[in-house]
Symmetry: C2
Subunit: 335 residues, 2 copies
DNA sequence: TTGTATGCGTTATCAC
DNA sequence: GTGATAACGCATACAA
């Protein structure tokens, strides 16, 4: 059985409140009593019950990380980086995976509303609906969004400008003489994917190229779909000279298909992938990628959360980070 | 402000205890009062405070996942699978990353001892020392180990027989005519890595080959070290005909080095990697791998934890799962 | 400086 | 079937 404040108080011959003060470094405790109390606490390896403490102090030092997709390597990287920040600030992380399921999302909001966590960071997913806003009103907005939008400008938000990333990728390819650029995307109902598509269209149009719908392949983001996307295009007689792929797994699948087909990268097809992480780093040849600033996203989001946890109300900003275009072999013009 | 039991009791004109019973589906509440109470609860979107509930019931429905290494893709996969199991069983997961740091491990044990979580699963890492045992005595062993050993047979444990995996990999290579097999390993102070090395040595000796120390390259597991391992061997004049690599990132680094050197797989060097996941799946040519049974590890461990949480004492087993050797292109004999 | 009393939101044990 | 009341472990306002 775990030792409690009361036990220590009894052993030290003082009141519980004195023990509490002594152990929490509050002033108003005599040097001797403090010493005695600390000694006993250490001897019996006292650990304050966090539930009891949370119940009275309304603070648990835990935050929920609500992930829309655990298969997304960038999101995993964001989690890792938030974990680092949290550790520094003495916060614990609860990992929640919704798989894009709104019902699960709601149920995870319960963590917030039942006082189990102090705040939450939502990573990815669709537009934040009314149910989230309701929760927010109750809990006075201890929520931060990463790569996700709310229809009210209510939560501090950190976004990646995916559209701009794709836009620059297109521009890079055009500059290198590629003309027929295919876009392999995930589900366009997902906000971020739609945004990527818009960036693609914007760039295409800007440079006076007709947007060809056939050059867009929408997938469910799984690896095999990247593979199939290539086959579908080729078999359909649509032969692009380059690909931009909006997700890691799709990229890997596509590269596999290209190689299986006996084609060379970038000689036959240039490829620009998404995400600069262990996944894409394994691709051969070295892959040009649109790289999400995962560390920065994590850091900004966590700091925003800390701020609203400390009731800095002035902080309801939306920040937009620009992804980096990292140019490697897979998009070099060799012809 | 969140509504509480007391509020509902007042509104319904009954006692708190009645509300509690009604809302927890306990018998001994009149049908009418129950209806009225539930109605009010729903109307005001009542959420029981989990802290208060946990304080009295000694149950939080949360478990800690204590990871020794977030860079290890297999471990991430185990986390994903435990998350799935936890979700099914209405448990929440707290993610803790120790980076192999014992101090952090101790501090995470605090979660257990301060009643924040019901149990914990340790994934990977060194031998479990005395401090963990101490904790276990207090908390009556709500701990399960994955790929980790305790010097007392105290915690339910699920292990991967890495040694056997490597053993069979060596055998496979020998059967295919390879004779000079290099082993690229991680830090041999880590239990699992040592075990892999032992499997290697066992196989080598068994088939009457002299163990050459120079064919063993010990690394820190980072990708670049896999790259360097190849260079080191070649430049050192040690030319193996095949490689067994004990970690994903090392594998990717090694493959990169081989290709950069202008060599072909498996024509010049056969390669057997570790881990059958998105990481190694990106390698070209398709990689023969020693595959850890991540789903099974996760499932068994979680079920064991559930059992000891329910005080099934008879369950202190150590189960050993055998990894699968998945044979693909990278280890085929083509010469 | 120290002790007393109260409350945090629930559940559980008694009575009635 | 229902209602007081204690208890969980801690923090804090107030008294002494």
């Amino acid at each position: 059985m775990q030792i409690t404040l009361k036990d220590i108080a009894r052993m030290a011959g003082v009141a519980e409140s004195t023990v509490s003060r002594a152990l929490n470094d509050k002033k108003g405790v005599g040097e001797n009593t403090r010493k005695k109390i600390i000694e006993i606490a250490e001897k019996y390896d006292y650990r304050p019950n966090k539930l009891a403490r949370g119940l009275v102090s309304k603070k648990t030092n835990m935050i929920a990380l609500i992930l829309s997709d655990m298969e997304n390597q960038s999101y995993i990287d964001i989690v890792k980086n938030i974990e680092i920040e949290a550790e520094k600030n003495n916060y614990q992380i609860i990992l929640c995976n919704t798989n894009g399921n709104i019902e699960k999302e709601k149920s995870y909001l319960n963590l917030l509303e039942s006082n189990q966590v102090d705040g939450a960071i939502f990573i990815g997913g669709g537009l934040v609906g009314q149910y989230l806003l309701n929760a927010s009103f109750k809990e006075s907005n201890k929520i931060v969004l990463i790569n996700r939008l709310s229809d009210e400008g209510f939560f501090p938000t950190v976004l990646t400008d995916y559209g701009d990333g794709i836009y620059r990728a297109v521009k890079h390819l055009l500059n290198n003489g590629y003309k027929k650029i295919a876009l392999i995307s995930g589900d366009l109902n997902i906000l971020t994917e739609e945004e990527k598509f818009n960036g693609y269209k914007r760039a295409i149009t800007k440079y006076n190229i007709n947007f060809e719908k056939k050059l867009l392949v929408e997938t469910n983001g799984k690896r095999i779909e990247g593979y199939n996307a290539f086959i579908k295009l080729i078999e359909g007689g649509i032969i692009p000279d380059s690909f931009i792929v909006t997700q890691e797994l799709l990229t890997i699948g596509l590269v596999e298909a290209v190689k299986t087909g006996g084609y060379f990268i970038p000689e036959d097809f240039a490829i620009i992938g998404s995400g600069d992480n262990i996944l894409t780093s394994a691709v051969d040849p070295p892959l040009t990628v649109i790289a999400e600033p995962v560390e920065e996203l994590a850091e900004l989001a966590f700091n925003d959360l800390i701020k609203i946890l400390n009731n800095d109300k002035e902080n309801f900003s939306i920040r937009v980070l620009t992804p980096q275009l990292i140019i490697r072999e897979s998009s070099k013009r060799n012809k």
